[in-house]
């Protein structure tokens, strides 16, 4: 038993640490969220890593992967979190990319993978529907084969950043008579196709991050079907399995706790730092301990994976505990800033002259807290994750 890194791993860590220090754009450092960024700004770090060849460490080498070990990939993520680099968009890199190289045909690989790697093509995810959230298999969007096309009609929702998207990967029902999880296909759809309308959804923190996508008689070439017709559920599940790994967000939470502690040091109660009060220090300690436990739990999963075990349903623990911790951090951060938690940071079309009251560190605390409530809903709600563990791990 050993939780330390080998000398080779330590050397690798130094290499990536240096690379990040030397290459991460200084002017991005002060930008904490991507809500305020332009489309091109959001892709800055992606483009730098693409040039370096490090944009998809987790892909097979033949498609652009780095061939790193599990531990090296873990270190890479750690170092990015440590430096608080921009998170890369997952839609191409983590979601549809692996589906394409695993289940797509050669033609599809040639056509789509390069754009994903270079970020020249922006992808979005067409999974959820108004009637199909936790019960994804209840989706109703229909695709009817007509000659060499599918004609797609339906309504997708919670489509993150669809306002920028060039393409969407989309679950559609191709056999109306099949049972829930059968008769579903996995289609790639050009967002410029006539019949597609994107309508913004503003979330309670005031951000425009998610959208509804309406599809009305959208003609999709049959060659855009991934794998076999009616077998889409298999690919969808594969994708969701990938999505869950990394969701623990341990390293980012560590940084967020550091930030919380510095806020609670600046904030005073009767002239002394909030962090020194018994109540608050106790809550921060509980949070840190929870996170430490989760970190080791994740390392144990990784160690098992590097010995060949796939990411099992235990990964649901990482989702549940990871999001609970993320939410708790934002809750305590809001608590820490006291009265200035009231302040709303304007969103949408701004003049640039908006006044935001309070110390910088307090800005957006409430909105961030509100926004993070989504993490226990999206990506398979935490209730669904409980169901998964109950069934798959405990056999109930």
């Amino acid at each position: 038993m050993d939780m330390s890194f080998s000398p080779q791993d330590l050397a690798f860590r130094d290499e990536v640490r240096t690379f990040i220090a030397e290459n991460y754009p200084k002017d991005l450092k002060s930008r904490r969220t991507r809500g305020e960024m332009t489309k091109e700004e959001i892709l800055t770090w992606h483009r730098i890593l693409y040039k370096k060849g490090w944009v998809v460490p987790h892909w097979p080498v033949e498609y652009g992967g780095t061939g790193w070990t599990t531990t090296q990939r873990y270190i890479w993520n750690e170092e990015n979190a440590r430096a608080e680099t921009q998170a890369l968009l997952p839609f191409g890199l983590a979601m549809v990319g692996p589906v394409i190289y695993t289940f797509g045909n050669e033609e599809q690989k040639k056509r789509f993978l390069p754009g994903i790697l270079s970020a020249d093509v922006w992808w979005c995810q067409g999974y959820s529907e108004p009637g199909a959230g936790s019960d994804l298999a209840g989706l109703k969007t229909r695709a009817v084969r007509e000659g060499d096309h599918y004609v797609v009609n339906g309504h997708k929702i919670w489509t993150t950043l669809a306002q920028y998207a060039d393409w969407m990967f989309c679950l559609v029902r191709t056999d109306a008579n099949a049972k829930a999880q059968e008769g579903i296909s996995f289609l790639l759809i050009d967002m410029k196709t006539p019949g597609i309308t994107v309508r913004p959804i503003i979330t309670m923190d005031g951000a425009h991050e998610v959208n509804e996508v309406f599809l009305e008689d959208v003609k999709v070439p049959a060659e855009n079907l991934i794998g076999e017709e009616n077998k889409g559920w298999t690919y969808a599940k594969f994708l969701l399995g990938n999505e869950r790994s990394g969701i623990a967000g341990v390293s980012r939470s560590k940084k967020a706790i550091e930030r919380l502690k510095s806020i609670a040091t600046a904030e005073l109660v009767d002239g002394s730092p909030l962090l020194k009060t018994d109540e608050f220090s106790r809550k921060v300690a509980e949070l840190e301990i929870d996170l430490t436990a989760l970190e080791v739990t994740e390392l144990r999963t990784l160690a098992a994976e590097s010995k060949g075990a796939g990411p099992g349903p235990e990964a649901s623990i990482l989702k549940i505990k990871g999001t609970e911790i993320q939410q708790r951090i934002t809750e305590l951060t809001l608590e820490a800033v006291g009265n200035y938690g009231h302040v709303n940071v304007p969103t949408g079309d701004l003049t640039g002259n908006e006044f935001v009251a309070g110390p910088d560190y307090s800005n957006g605390s409430a909105q961030n807290y509100f926004n993070m409530r989504k993490t226990s809903i999206y990506g398979g709600s935490n209730e669904i994750q409980h169901n998964i563990i109950a069934k798959m791990v405990l056999g109930l």
């Binding site: 019960d135 979330t203 009767d270 809001l334 009265n339 009231h342 302040v343 304007p346 809903i377």
Partner: protein, 376 residues
């Protein structure tokens, strides 16, 4: 022992319910919040016309002779409709200071304007370094001839963009956190030397940062005795806490109703999600949190005139209860509504945001637990 309302109280409730039911639906409220002003002056006028602003004042002061129960009744309905207009700031806080600490001359000068809906007030008490300690004041008022000169900075003054008048706490003597030496002043917001920066709050209201630079006020601006203001500040903020508790109860009641309704209709896996036992028990816990909050709200509103220790325990206890219950009910209402709960479109998130801010006002759960523990 009786928890029912009098006929007059029931009438008051019917009045406010039918007004808000007719004229303060969620869409109207959204438009009010998004307007340049951020509140509705005409609505405020209607409050005045229907006597809502007069409810908790005695008849001698021109009011309807009600008290905390009348305020509670109104606030619960304001909570149900997420009313943004500054009732707490103007009627409960400024009205309370004038009623309980003002001289007859001050009462005569100011209360009619409140009751008539002509004057809006805000309470400038919090300071950046002071957090929830009402005595932690860097703002000073120096004796200057007959009057005072005020200097200082007040943070997050809710409702101030709409106000003409301010109640301001300032230190006339003593060290920065001494209980002695706190004084309470009436200040014109347009007095020379008052500068404000306005901004929206996350719960759809407006607030200001206010700087006081050599503001001159007369002796008649002082409420109560110089340097002896803190007990009154505590008493009136406890009244505000009682009012906010009722508002929170209104918010939670609506959230619970909406959540149960949603779970009965929303289907997943072929059944209404309200059939899932885990969600059922969650809603039962929400229901119990609500009922316990109703109880504490009744309790605090009935105990506002008890001795200081009793009142403090009642107010701190109620604030702890609604702080914890509000967080739980708010978070779970969002969770059970799923993605829809996250949207700006649905009212659920707005109740959640308001409940979150209520926890912050006048001290959050931690602050009030400490206050409760140390109350004699």
């Amino acid at each position: 022992m009786d928890f029912s309302f009098t006929e007059e109280q029931t009438l008051l409730r019917n009045t406010v319910q039918s007004l808000l039911g007719d004229k303060y639906d969620f869409d109207t409220r959204r438009k009010i919040v998004k307007s340049a002003e951020g509140w509705s002056q005409p609505m405020w006028q209607q409050f005045a016309e229907l006597g809502l602003l007069a409810a908790p004042f005695s008849e001698e002061l021109g009011g309807l002779g009600g008290g905390s129960i009348e305020t509670m009744i109104l606030m619960e309905e304001f909570g149900r409709h997420l009313v943004v207009e500054p009732f707490v700031e103007t009627v409960v806080l400024a009205g309370g200071f004038l009623r309980e600490g003002g001289s007859p001359a001050q009462q005569e000068a100011h209360i009619p304007g409140i009751i008539g809906g002509e004057t809006v007030w805000a309470f400038a008490y919090a300071e950046p370094q002071g957090r929830y300690n009402l005595a932690d004041l860097a703002t000073t008022a120096k004796k200057d001839g007959e009057g005072y000169t005020i200097n200082g900075y007040k943070a997050v003054v809710l409702g101030a963009p709409w106000a003409q008048k301010l109640i301001v706490t300032a230190r006339t003597s003593g060290g920065q956190r001494d209980r002695d030496g706190v004084s309470i002043f009436i200040v014109d917001k347009n007095a020379p030397g008052v500068s404000t920066r306005d901004y929206p709050t996350v719960d759809g209201r407006r607030a200001s940062e206010i700087t006081f630079e050599n503001i001159k006020v007369g002796a008649d601006a002082l409420i109560g005795a110089e340097g002896k203001g803190l007990p009154l500040v505590e008493k009136i903020t406890d009244q505000a806490i009682a009012a906010l508790s009722a508002e929170a109860v209104g918010c939670m009641g609506e959230l619970n109703k909406a959540t149960v309704e949603y779970c009965k209709t929303r289907k997943q896996f072929g059944v209404p999600i309200g059939k899932f036992q885990v969600l059922q028990h969650r809603m039962v816990d929400m229901f119990m949190a609500y009922e316990q909050s109703v109880s504490m709200t009744y309790m605090v509103n009935l105990k506002l005139d008890e001795n200081e220790a009793e009142r403090t325990k009642a107010a701190a206890g109620a604030k702890v209860q609604i702080g914890k219950a509000g967080r739980f009910v708010g978070q779970q209402a969002v969770q059970l509504h799923g993605g829809m709960g996250m949207t700006d479109e649905l009212n659920v998130g707005h109740y959640f945001k308001r409940l979150t801010m209520i926890d912050t006002q006048f001290g959050n759960v931690d602050h009030q637990l400490k206050r409760y523990s140390t109350a004699a």
